[in-house]
């Protein structure tokens, strides 16, 4: 018996319509794993990490070219050069790529390089940006705002759909609560609720939720056990040299074990 189907079909009343990225179906039963570094740093870095995550079973490569950072002095991404490196790596490995867009003016440019456009947590309420990605015909990965209700999250998806683009993938990434032991509080219930209340696939980003590598595989397993359609995982082979969020990245070997462990749940 496929217990994941059991969870999704027999108790939760979900009716997820898959989103397609080429031949890859997100929300069709098999958990889809997106992985890669927080930021694109160099051609060599992308190829090294890209190969490792693809070999471990990732379906999509992630990497940020435009990084929204709290501090204006922090590394803000390689921009266009980053997009080019990400595309090149994805093509070399034969897997699709996902990357964040932060400004309405950049949407067309990013859409010409990426297979999936990511809207980050801090831009969930950026309505001009949502409208603009809604005018493209690329799948959009919409992260939940770190203090947004489920209702507000789905209302943000409506801004994208208003432009005629309903290829939307929701992504739970943790919310801000009184608890400071983790970077955010991973809201596992939100995965179930978003699936109940919308037709969109819902994936989970345990890396940003936890902020601590040792928790990530546990939260990843929990997300899939709760019915998530996939995962977004930060992986870096030299986390101590990472230009962004190295502290929460998994080593490729731990990521490989995570993928294996997650599969035992859905195939249990």
């Amino acid at each position: 018996m496929n217990t994941n189907s059991w969870v999704q079909d027999q108790v939760l009343n979900t009716n997820t319509i898959p989103v397609y990225v080429g031949n890859l179906a997100i929300g069709a039963g098999q958990p889809i794993i997106m992985a890669g570094p927080c930021a694109v740093e160099s051609e060599e870095q992308m190829m090294r990490i890209g190969k490792a995550v693809a070999a471990a079973g990732a379906h999509v490569l992630r990497g940020g070219a435009y990084k929204p950072r709290t501090n204006v002095q922090s590394f803000q991404g390689l921009g266009l050069a980053g997009l080019e490196l990400l595309r090149k790596t994805g093509d070399a490995l034969g897997i699709p790529v996902v990357t964040e867009v932060v400004s309405p003016a950049d949407v067309d440019l990013v859409a010409s390089y990426a297979d999936i456009l990511q809207i980050g947590s801090r831009n969930m309420h950026n309505y001009p940006l949502l409208l603009e990605v809604g005018r493209t015909r690329k799948p959009v990965l919409l992260k939940r705002g770190y203090a947004a209700t489920i209702e507000e999250w789905l209302a943000a998806a409506d801004y994208i759909a208003a432009g005629g683009n309903n290829q939307i993938i929701l992504c739970e990434r943790g919310i801000r609560t009184f608890s400071t032991e983790t970077r955010n509080t991973f809201d596992i219930s939100a995965i179930c609720l978003a699936k109940m209340k919308s037709p969109y696939p819902v994936i989970a980003d345990p890396s940003h939720a936890a902020g601590i590598p040792s928790l990530v595989p546990h939260l990843a397993r929990a997300a899939i056990a709760a019915g998530a359609d996939g995962l977004l995982i930060e992986v870096h082979d030299r986390p101590e040299e990472a230009l962004c969020d190295g502290g929460q990245a998994l080593l490729p070997e731990v990521f490989r074990q995570l993928v294996h462990s997650v599969r035992t749940i859905t195939e249990g």
Copy 2:
């Protein structure tokens, strides 16, 4: 491969010391399921529900005799009569029983009837009560305060241990956040962190966290996938007639499926 062991041993650095209730080991690898109604209502109700949960695979029977309620007009439990009915049902079914104690003056009485003493979320900071249960030699199930940090939760356990009683089972039951779509926000990371930072087994109460029956099996699966040592689940066969929290209780048949589904994870 037992993936639950993998999660607990290879990534999280845990060193859980099992708590024994008779022959039943909590925290020794096999998830322990505690289930039953929110409140003891009558002999007939306890026997009906008790039989159903035992048949479905529950290891421990729960039922409240002293109910801490927000409103002074609400049903506050049957008290001593409730303790007697709970004990009688457990003996008839041959399974141990857990029930809440809310007043230091009642500790000895409750300890004479129950196999496990429960400290509820609203009493996590009730230090005279913690000291008193610490003077008994009964296992104590210590729920996390609904707005307590992990550190405060473990400090509350220290109050119990100060009396020489270190048979402590921690229970995550959701925290209060801005999100109102669920009764509480189930803090899945807390399960992992409490296991990392203490020697105590950690179980999960998805019923109080969700407050919505359809979410409970998903959160239960998630908890076990994250490494929880067991579950505390509210079950009622006539939820619409329940004197307390019927709205979040599972029907026995759904509970039975939950137990089955949870087993596929640990034995996956």
Copy 3:
């Protein structure tokens, strides 16, 4: 014009019934100031600080004999000896005293020494304790639970009133939120809402809310400007030697300025 009356009577629809402590009316228009150290430490300490706060204009002397502490190793108060010292100081200075009670078994004892019984934030949900203070005929100062809604707070007051004691003074002391820049987030709106929804006087404890002395006078002014009926302020003349919460105590001289500044608002 008395602007405080304007605020309370013309916009908020409040109907506060004063609580009397001897001749002192709390909730009758004049802000009542309760002040003193977190904990009773010694006769000499109480007399020194008691004299200073009385000279600065405090109407009630505070001092803890039973201290609910997060850690079992922390100083837990002098107990009965603390009650005796507090009473002696209040009598010598001719002002009433307020002190916390944490266990139902101690209520009669504490009531025989104190003029006002304080229920602390961590005990707002301790229903056996609330019922017990409701059986006395002493005024009760009921602090809001640090994560309690207004509704739950007023429901806790109902537990006290159920015993026939409606001499209840509510006290806002800050709530737990994502913000960690202050010890708690002082919820100024709660003062107004509690006054609108109940007949009880509402005072404010800016010391526990802020956790930073330099904020206390500002929050105190804000509370009175919003319509609070009084203040509860921690004062210590040797904060670095305090056995409890010295880090948030005001020096007597700063407290004196606070009292003066607060008066300019209500008499403005």
Copy 4:
């Protein structure tokens, strides 16, 4: 004695550098009142409300032309036509105007009509927008994100200052917490902390914090008593017909009383 100076200078160590809008100094001691409707709706509406708030003592007229709304179906503002009506009203009344800008592409246009550019709470993390307003030479009113820490708020101000524009006015407008009795929890401490940790004037928006008109005057008084440099107040003479947030707007007569009441605090 000016008690407001006392608060700001003697206890908090603040060093506010005033921001000038023409001759109007914000942060120089006198509380500055900005008021008007949530949204510009028509020429007649703006003139009616504009006259009323100016007569009551407002120094700046507010009115939204671009409204970031949770739902894509909600009224999103009159856009350019709204800017023109706002400018025309401000000129007719001889007072400066403040309005929100939501898209980087609109910044130059909005700056050509407005005296102060407002960044709303949902755009506090919109870094391309912050950089763009930083390139103008107009004062910027930067609202705190509804779940942002003080540190993140000041880091957002750094994005504006990075472009050479340090005419920044901070605005506390409430944060999202577990409490749902008010629209947001007004964080009175944040006003003090932002003044301590930055050179910028800090004003308060009690209208969005409360979401309930009867609380607004109380929170306004509290903000000024705590040391705020001004207020932003929503006023509408026909709140039941308002196209946006009518439910929290004050009637002009209540606003007039609020201005009077606030003055008694600073001149007390």
